[in-house]
Point group: C2
Chain length 244, copies 2
DNA sequence: TCAAAAGTGTTCAAGTTACACCCATGT
DNA sequence: ACATGGGTGTAACTTGAACACTTTTGA
């Protein structure tokens, strides 16, 4: 994250061995790469900074970690404060700790990525506070090393999708197989064969077919499915080969 | 890492918005999970703490990050200070940032794992300064959350071995195919078929056969091989399916 | 001559890829 | 009636898994 003008005084009294010399002052921040899928495209939530420096530039959302909260809690807080969402899937990506990464001061950032289900109303809602959902392949230049974070998060998502199902986190409860395929095509950034995709995903037996159709995508309509949560969790834990 | 008795005074003058409230004081440390392979077994370098608290208990090696060095540099420094080695493969594992993880204070640690070639003399050398090479499946209880770090590092190494070759980092320049197989068996913790292993690894064409034999492992002796660095780098970059 | 590890090929099963036609529906 | 996307099966190929015997050499 970027820093405003700030000054620190950092004192370490009673330092009596080399163990602590030079420790701090380093500020610890979290930044969130928020992925969303709107049944069509994989998107990323970006924010227009309201404060200097970098005012009006695009960036990820972040905050400083408080000394009485865990890093993970801080990331949850960021997510909640910026989107109102809680309880969503989130995982640590990496720590960005280069010395000169933030010209405003010595700040390291623990980047986290989150996967959320994107409903139409939410997609509009965020616009009101200087945020925008960008398609993953149309991300504008961001401040600091945020473009690196985005690239790393996307590549981690791609790798993760190979050995653990990710659909549950990004899709609404009920979805069609073509929608699921569109999601994977967005993640892998390549077209997949309809018949093979269906065969593979059904062979995992994590989908429950519902007696309803979603007709928003075609005249004929596509059957809705739901994840079988137990089997899904089992696959998540075990780790599956989901090479496509 | 663990902390001795310490007190901090942390002042943030001219805080004029919520952006900085509660920021710090958090100390940033790095800990290193150091893997070594001695042609037989995969080992982990552990240290007996010389200072309170946790004096004489086993732990990973770590240090605080200085404010004028990058996190990665700090990890390199730790490695160099504790083993004398530099230029070895090292990669960030994760940030451990739970609030109460270190009873001595608010410290987060960016864990890194390193892979090094283990020569016999080194294996002895470290003993002199309260360190010991433990086999990966015989790691003793460690301080703080260090056992978690070890488990996570080992699991990351296993996953990494599936899509990027790791042998180059852990083996001496010249090695035999049975040695390489032993390494993979140690990583995956399961026996592999000799014929299939040889077939697969040779089909990648990253090995160069030398006209020498290593007779240390058998009467007959096994041919020595060397990695073709160019092709190896190419595979590292591209990422290969090295499922075994 | 024998013990111990190195080296080598083939068969079978499973999984992945490629590919084309009919179906249901709203307009 | 037609345009649009949904749904299905099969054949060729590739890949991974299983498996046993011969070779070399030092003691």
């Amino acid at each position: 994250m970027g820093i405003q003008n700030f000054h620190l005084t950092f004192m370490l009294p009673s330092i009596n061995n080399t163990f602590y010399s030079g420790a701090g002052p380093i500020l610890v921040a979290v930044d969130c790469i928020i992925f969303g899928f709107d049944k069509q495209r994989l998107k990323l939530l970006l924010f227009k900074r309201k404060v200097e420096p970098f005012k009006n530039e695009w960036s990820l959302i972040g905050r400083f970690v408080k000394s009485d909260e865990s890093v993970y809690t801080a990331a949850e807080r960021v997510l909640e404060e910026s989107t109102g969402l809680s309880g969503v899937f989130m995982e640590q990506l990496a720590c960005y700790g280069a010395e000169g990464r933030d010209p405003g001061g010595r700040v390291i950032s623990i980047a986290h990525y989150a996967l959320i289900r994107l409903e139409e109303q939410e997609e509009q809602a965020v616009e009101t506070y200087q945020a925008h959902w960008y398609e993953v392949d149309k991300v504008p230049p961001l401040i600091l090393d945020h473009n690196d974070m985005v690239a790393d998060a996307f590549s981690k998502l791609r790798r993760r999708a190979r050995y653990q199902p990710v659909g549950f986190e990004l899709l609404p409860e009920k979805f069609t197989i073509p929608q699921l395929q569109t999601l994977y095509e967005a993640i892998y950034q390549k077209p997949l064969d309809r018949r093979n995709f269906r065969k593979k995903i059904l062979s995992m037996k994590i989908l429950e077919k519902l007696p309803e159709k979603d007709k928003s995508g075609s005249r004929k309509g596509a059957f809705l499915y739901r994840f079988d949560e137990n089997k899904y969790q089992e696959l998540m834990a075990r780790g599956v080969d989901f090479e496509l």
